[in-house]
Every structure is written in structure tokens, then in C-alpha cells.
């Protein structure tokens, strides 16, 4: 279900070039590749202001496709003493994304979050070194058409792209 890909980090002032590069890559590599990497580019865009604050963003990342509203859970090792931001993104217009980090007991540990226009982020200062769980939920907003047809529920389930990157300092 999930297709894992990666993309390079865009630098401040180079976003347009980055998006253009992704588009060119997409043209040469097929629709699915482009679809997935667009979500990563949204996540990386969300990360860009934090790079200026000293966060080093990893090149490796998670991405794929998921049904609207279905939560995804990523396991990841964090180290006490570091500060982390996780940024999630989706390229689907009008879709929202949220990201939450939980410790091994299932308790949310995010100190700060944001979610806007296909991008979301959460900041974490791990209390212990160990495995943490990052939950990503991408939701397609209901439309007037589907609300009339389906009683106001979400749009029919289909695949939405998602991407997750992280940085540390």
C-alpha cells in the first residue's frame, strides 16, 4: 500500500526550482512517482523555515498513499537531548493533514503543532531515548456534492498521497 520514496531538501529561496525539478522528474518517471513525491515536497516546504532555525532535515523519509481519514502509524527511534520536528504533507487540494507523536505508552508528547493547507508539523523533546510512534491522518474535506449525495459524510474513500519528513537539532 505504501510506496516509499525520497526527495532532496529544498533550500530557502529555491522552492520554485525544487518544485520545477520535481515536475521534470515526474514527467520522466511516471505518475505514481510524481504523486508520492509531491506530498514529500509539501512536507519539505513546511520544514523550510525551521532549517533556518538550525534543524537538520533528514534525506530519508516516509511516503505513500492512504484512504481518507485512515490513520497511519510510523515507528521511529528518537534520542533524549535532541529536539525534533516532524512535518507531514499532502498534495491533494483541499485535503487536510495532521501529525501527532506518541511515546511507547501511547501518550501524545508533542509540544507544539500546526496544520494548514496540506501541511502539518509537530515539535518533540523526547523525555526518554527509545521508540516513538508518529501518527499521520490525511482527510479529504467533504464537498457540497458528496454532502448532498451521502448525507454529509466524507468523500468516497480513495487514495490520498502523504509524506513525512523530520529534522533534529
Amino acid at each position: 500500500m505504501t510506496e516509499q520514496t525520497s526527495a532532496a531538501l529544498p533550500k530557502s529561496g529555491a522552492n520554485a526550482f525544487f518544485v520545477m525539478l520535481l515536475t521534470l522528474l515526474a514527467m520522466g518517471s511516471g505518475l505514481v512517482f510524481a504523486f508520492v513525491n509531491e506530498a514529500i515536497s509539501f512536507a519539505l516546504e513546511a520544514a523550510t523555515p525551521y532549517v533556518e532555525q538550525g534543524f537538520e532535515v533528514r534525506e530519508d523519509n516516509w511516503s505513500g498513499e492512504v484512504e481518507s481519514g485512515k490513520p497511519l502509524l510510523v515507528r521511529h527511534q528518537l534520542f533524549r537531548g535532541n529536539e525534533y520536528w516532524f512535518w507531514a504533507g499532502t498534495s491533494i487540494p483541499g485535503a487536510s493533514v495532521e501529525v501527532t507523536v506518541f511515546d511507547k505508552k501511547g501518550m501524545a508528547v508533542g509540544l507544539e503543532t500546526f496544520s494548514k493547507e496540506g501541511k502539518a508539523g509537530v515539535r518533540v523533546l523526547p523525555g526518554k531515548t527509545g521508540t516513538y510512534y508518529i501518527r499521520v491522518i490525511v482527510t479529504r474535506k467533504k464537498t457540497t456534492e458528496t454532502a448532498n449525495a451521502g448525507g454529509g459524510e466524507e468523500a468516497p474513500s480513495d487514495s490520498l498521497d502523504w509524506g513525512l519528513v523530520y529534522g533534529y537539532r
Binding site: P71, L72, L73, R75, G81, N82, K105
Partner: protein, 301 residues
């Protein structure tokens, strides 16, 4: 009446502050954690999809913590592997590639331009042996140039990028196994040098950095999924045994003792001797005349 007003309005005011939004530089709305208490989920009955992919932290992530709690002698931690020319097995080349990138991260901590430039060249040489030179060449050049400019952040970024490029290219070529071995090689080299520094000036805080059972478990699973004949080669069997020994040490108790750190050091060293260091080479060879660790040395395979 006044007292009641205060009791009611103060918490209300507090929650207004806590959920208040702010605009950051790019206009993104930021909302701090609400006062309603953190959300809790049942991880054993998660109503969604677990993502299989494991992203292995790069050594720099762990080194940055170590730098915050002490001043390790990073230069003394650099130890170049021997000649790569005799290596023909792609699985060993992949492991060594990961180890060499980790060596690069150690050299960045040591701010050793010369060692980083050597590593940049060696990385390209190994990539040539793996048939991935075209993909790695730009990274290699950037590592060398950035080291010359002492732009350590850029070097770290390029080292991470090099490893990622190699792994992605391997995966595109359906060489997922090799991609995993690159990660294992890097993780082992990083963990080995970490155990050295922690055992020098032991503290439970530092030892906690080694609490990585999820990663050990991931690598153990990966080794069982290797295809024959690679899985049954003596070196891979030895690495699989080493991972089992690491897991046993980490599961001994909730906190990692000094003795456990020393065990982890010996086990990772044994494992690195399968693909990176010369077998039987003694750690003491690195000690200088005054007992301090000497600068980077080279080993032979």
C-alpha cells in the same frame, strides 16, 4: 464573589493563552498544546495502518546529543578501513559503504577536513565498485569542496544525501537487500564509536543513547529475509549472530550498565571486523605515546 471570579476566569484565561494561535514567518498558523491533557491511544489496537518502512537515524543525530553532554575526542574516534580493492562481494561493499559514510560523520564532528576529503574520495571509489559512481559523484565532489570550506552542516547534509542516493538507486534496481546492508554498516560503525566514547566517561545518561531495541530488531528481521546464498555466507551468519548478541545485552535490564556498554563495544567491533576493520586488530593500537588517542589511522583488510 471576587474570589469566585478569579478562580473561574484564571483557568479560562490560561486555556485561551494555551490554545491561542500565532503566525510564524511563512504565515502558517501555529497552535500550542491545549490544556485538556495529552491525547492517548492504544498502540496494541491501533485502528489504522502500520507503516513498514524503518528510517535508521544517522550517526550525526546521536553524536549531536553526545556533544551536548560532553566533549568527546572525536579525532581519536576516526579509524579508516583498509584497502577496498580486494573486495568483490556486493553485500560486503554495501556494508562497507555505510560504514564509511558513518566514518565521515565522525570526521565532521572532529572537524577534520583532510579525513573528510579522503572519505569523500573513498566513497566514490566504493560507489564505482558498486556500479553507482554516476549517482554518487556529485555528492562526493560536494563533500570534498564543503570540507575544504569547513562548512560542516553542508558536509553532513551531503553524507546523508550520499547514503540516501545509493540506497534509493539500489532500491530502484531491485537491490533492496543491499540498501538495507548500507544502513546496517552505518549503524554498526556509529554505534561502535558511540560505545567507545560512553565507556571512556560512563554515565547512565549517555548510555541511554544506546537504547535502540527497535532498530536492532529491525536489522535482525532484515538479516533473516536476505536471500540465499548471501544469507548463508559465513560473514552474514556472523553478523546475524552479532545482532542477536546485541539484542540480548540490550534486553538485560531497563538501564544500560557500564559493563553492558563494554559488551556492546566488543560485539560491534567483532561485527565490523567482518567487513570494515581488519580482524584481530587491537583497539590499543590507536593509543599514542602519552596515552591519548592518536589521529585517524588506516587499517588493512
Amino acid at each position: 464573589m471576587f474570589v469566585k471570579f478569579q478562580l473561574i476566569t484564571l483557568p479560562l484565561f490560561a486555556s485561551v493563552v494555551l490554545v491561542g494561535s500565532a503566525q510564524d514567518e511563512n504565515g502558517t498558523s501555529r497552535v500550542t498544546q491545549t490544556a485538556g491533557g495529552p491525547e492517548r491511544i492504544d498502540l496494541s489496537h491501533f485502528p489504522g495502518q502500520m507503516v513498514d518502512k524503518v528510517v535508521v537515524p544517522i550517526p550525526a543525530e546521536i553524536f549531536s546529543v553526545l556533544d551536548k553532554v560532553g566533549e568527546p575526542n572525536w579525532a581519536g574516534g576516526i579509524q579508516m578501513p583498509g584497502d577496498d580493492e580486494k573486495i568483490r562481494d556486493r553485500d560486503i561493499l554495501a556494508l562497507r559503504f555505510g560504514g564509511l559514510v558513518a566514518e565521515g560523520f565522525i570526521a565532521v564532528q572532529a572537524k577534520s577536513s583532510d579525513d573528510i576529503q579522503k572519505i569523500g574520495r573513498r566513497v566514490l571509489s566504493l560507489a564505482e565498485s558498486l556500479g553507482l559512481a554516476d549517482a554518487v559523484r556529485p555528492h562526493s565532489q560536494s563533500i570534498i569542496e564543503s570540507a575544504g570550506k569547513r562548512d560542516w552542516g553542508k558536509v553532513r547534509e551531503e553524507l546523508d544525501g550520499t547514503q540516501q542516493t545509493v540506497r534509493s538507486t539500489m532500491e530502484k534496481l531491485r537491490d533492496d537487500e543491499l540498501s538495507g546492508l548500507v544502513s546496517l554498516g552505518g549503524w554498526l560503525r556509529g554505534t561502535n564509536v558511540l560505545t567507545e566514547f560512553i565507556s571512556e566517561f560512563f554515565s547512565e545518561d549517555k548510555a541511554e543513547l544506546l537504547n535502540q531495541p527497535g532498530l536492532v530488531s529491525h536489522f535482525r528481521k532484515m538479516m533473516t529475509e536476505l536471500k540465499e546464498p548471501v544469507r548463508d555466507s559465513p560473514r552474514m551468519k556472523s553478523l546475524a549472530t552479532g545482532l542477536a548478541r546485541l539484542e540480548a545485552v540490550l534486553n538485560q535490564s531497563p538501564t544500560i550498565s557500564e559493563e553492558s556498554v563494554n559488551q556492546l563495544n566488543l560485539i560491534t567491533r567483532d561485527m565490523l571486523e567482518e567487513f570494515y576493520f581488519k580482524k584481530g586488530q587491537e583497539e590499543s593500537a590507536r593509543a599514542g605515546e602519552d596515552g591519548a588517542k592518536a589521529p585517524a589511522r588506516e587499517t588493512e583488510n
